[in-house]
Assembly symmetry: C2
Homo-oligomer: 492 residues x 2
């Protein structure tokens, strides 16, 4: 093989890093905690972004763009939100460099160019956006505002990992304003469902839906809805959040409107976001020891065609035979690559496209041309089959659909097998240690209990499921009464 | 009229600001020099971005994403580039806030969280990108690298104007790496031509192509190619630049490769960019005293349909009649809006869509339904005509094409009328003062002469045309010999 990666069994964390680097999704950068998203990784993100963007627009949202910087006085206006992000803010304090008199050719921060008020590089944009909405909203006729923005944000994390936790990341953040509480809650739930739809049907990754406990809630939110996915090592990953913000930001920024009865009220808010972190989830949920496994619907290359030839004559014959196939793939809207480069041998190419998770590989050699057939290999199951050139395009289309479903079903089976109901704290600890995954257990509803469980086991409540199972019981830690089960896991 | 704007004749600068605000392209923000791009402005930018992005991809480029921050030591590596941007850098010096002990509920920069090395918020990304390319390039087989990124950048301008000059702006920056000087120069010229193609054929704005004089060259470039457009007030606006960077950045960051003959050489570079500034150009070049005039190919709404009714019954009849038309528009790929809201009267709507520059307005009333016709108004010439409902869609499509051409031709005629050949400095000053526009004149090739002319008249050399007219003469200021004419103007 051209490139080797650590196996999952040997070291899951190292496997993940190797895979991200060697599949050329991303690279480290010279800036602490920041990564470079390489062209292959960015093409994947573009496909994810475009699919999500269409879903947002189909549900009535529009895009806009707000400033990168948040003046400190606005940042601190909503106190809980400010408190939640204060410890991880990049802060701009100066606006000019000058020549360093002591070091020829070097620059230094010009002390005369100190800002009167420091600027926070946005870790999230509620503050700057609600300060802006204040001047846009007077009456119920100005509502709802359904705005999304695609942007970079910065959170100064101490421990970073490619895609999963980086100081700068790309995301989208929806910020909506409503005349009623009811409408805002409906929006919050709607966007959680959009996220679930996207992650399940495009990323082929099943998710649980629910609300966060108070401990895990977004700083400044009244309620945080979320979707949670399970990784192959049995840890959970928060794949998207949608926050009902109540009137907290409207009150902090004094955003009021006159309603239909001409009464003044504060505006109701939501915000919701997913980020490049989803790429980390994709890698960890589906990949194997040979590389990425990408769901066809978002794969930058869905089909790679590799010709096998011994000389230029064979290459030329294959080339002619392949042309109508390429036209057919293009017309069918299939993203393909025909790799006839002489730089690498077929075996190297096979390994490279397996590493990159290309769902389908078509191999065609001189013998295949004679037989009017090709060899088709699917990446997910590593199965090969011979297909006739006749009717190949619809068969490839069907295979891509089949792979999309198959990847989802495999992940769903895994999650089912890795979800355990427990009744006692001993059982809880044993399952966590020996198996991991989602653990469904009774909890007494107190934050202190959740904190104690986290302290003892590192597991947190990932979500309180939306559907109430109606089953009452006793808290696994305290034995106090519980009205319903919640989902625990150790999380990324 | 619903909203009033200053006329161009009264105050061109104020007209521009009024128009940007009242057409809802953008708004001021709480951050000095930064703007909010509102949904209508952002939809326009999305159309421009998508068209450009396709052109980049069609010419073999791929997108990627590099960090927002540039460590100071990398920033200063290419000295000319660093010097050029040092005075307008936003600088991150700290990474944490803490509670202010003197002001309950307020935050302050935590002095214990000072960065060891300051981070510059990118004003342009050559430094961070070439530092990254260093680890990606070893051999000629790794070349060319043809990467573009869509990103936000920050330049701390003292005087800002919506879109034209903002502290933060959105742009794309291409950064390519090549094995030979020849190939890099070809890339530079190719991208200038891509920009010219886009601005002329999508934005309907004719441009001149050429290279910058040394004074106006990008800091760190060997040669800057550019396209320049003319605004209605006779000032020039730089609409895009493409830089041949030679080996300057490769040398600053020690990026070498082994060529086909196994010799080590520094890599050749280009960079090229256009920004949200183009939206400013669009407004200023085409708008009139009633609002924006948007070229159909990039207009967020190409056709607005306004029903005119006196009662619900009429509204319902019109509604039924309009349905097949809406389906037809959609199928023809025409971006339309059917505005049957009862919030505003037709006259208000007409003015609003004129302000927003919607190319075509279709009005339909009860009488029109009887006659199987509609009234069609084109925004650019403010002409109305009655069209039959039969065959309406192809006629509207043709009209949109016609408007696109007409807007371009009007701008081209304007530029022709506003381009003047002068022979003497007196003539130069008179034309500048009384007419403005592009002035074609002889120049002796010295930077000092250009500086003197700028000092005396505010005009600069916008470009040295690509095609040499072969006409020699005498410099308008010094009388020294000149081999060719160059283009002067006062510029934005």
């Amino acid at each position: 093989m051209a490139k080797e990666i650590t196996t999952r069994e040997t070291d899951y964390a190292k496997w993940y890093n190797d895979l991200v680097l060697k599949s050329e999704l991303a690279d480290y950068s010279a800036v602490r905690g920041c990564m470079v998203i390489k062209p292959y990784g960015f093409a994947l993100w573009e496909n994810m972004r475009d699919a999500l963007d269409k879903m947002f627009k189909d549900t009535g949202h529009v895009n806009a763009y707000f400033p990168l910087f948040v003046p400190k006085s606005l940042f601190e206006a909503e106190e809980k939100n400010a408190e939640g992000f204060a410890k991880e803010c990049a802060i701009v304090t100066h606006y000019r460099l000058k020549s360093d008199p002591d070091k020829p050719g070097k620059l230094m921060v010009d002390p005369d160019a100190k800002l009167e008020e420091e600027l926070i590089v946005r870790p999230t944009s509620e503050a700057i956006i609600w300060n802006t909405y204040k001047s846009w909203i007077q009456s119920y006729r100005d509502l709802p505002i359904l705005i999304n923005q695609w942007a970079n944000v910065v959170r100064w994390e101490m421990r970073t990992r490619l895609f999963l936790r980086t100081a700068e990341f790309l995301w989208q953040e929806g910020h909506t304003a409503h005349a009623t509480e009811q409408e805002a809650i409906e929006e919050t739930v709607k966007m959680m469902n959009v996220y679930a739809d996207f992650v399940e049907n495009w990323m082929a990754l099943p998710v649980l839906k629910g609300v966060k406990s108070e401990n895990e809630r977004f700083a400044g939110a009244v309620e945080t809805y979320c979707i949670e996915a399970l990784m192959q090592d049995g840890k959970a990953l928060q794949a998207g959040t949608s926050h009902f913000l109540g009137q907290n930001f409207a009150k902090a920024f004094d955003v009021t409107f006159t309603d239909r009865d001409n009464k003044l009220d504060h505006v109701w808010a939501t915000s919701w976001g997913v980020s490049t972190r989803l790429i980390g989830a994709l890698v960890m949920a589906h990949g194997d020891d040979d590389g990425l496994i990408l769901p066809p619907k978002i794969a930058p290359i869905q089909v790679v065609i590799v010709p096998i030839y011994k000389n230029d004559e064979q290459k030329s014959v294959i080339h002619s035979k392949v042309q109508p196939l390429l036209v057919g793939l293009k017309n069918a809207g299939i993203r393909y690559k025909y790799d006839d480069s002489d730089n690498a041998r077929p075996g190297w190419k096979f390994a490279e496209y397996e590493m990159k998770g290309v769902p389908v590989r078509i191999t065609i050699g001189a013998r295949d041309v004679e037989n009017n057939s090709v060899e088709v290999a699917r990446r997910d199951l590593k199965q090969k089959t011979v297909m006739s050139m006749d009717g190949l395009i619809p068969n490839i289309s069907a295979l891509l659909d089949e792979i999309q479903k198959s990847i989802f079903n495999k992940a769903l089976e895994f999650r089912k097998a890795m979800t355990t109901n427990v009744e006692t704290f001993d059982e809880f600890k044993t399952v966590l240690q020996e198996k991991g995954g989602f653990i469904s257990a009774h909890w007494d509803g107190f934050s202190g209990t959740e904190e104690k469980i986290k302290e003892l086991t590192k597991a947190t409540i990932r979500l309180i499921p939306l559907e109430d199972d109606g089953e009452s019981g006793k808290c696994i830690l305290t034995g106090k009464p519980s009205k319903r089960r919640v989902i625990f896991a150790v999380a990324y």
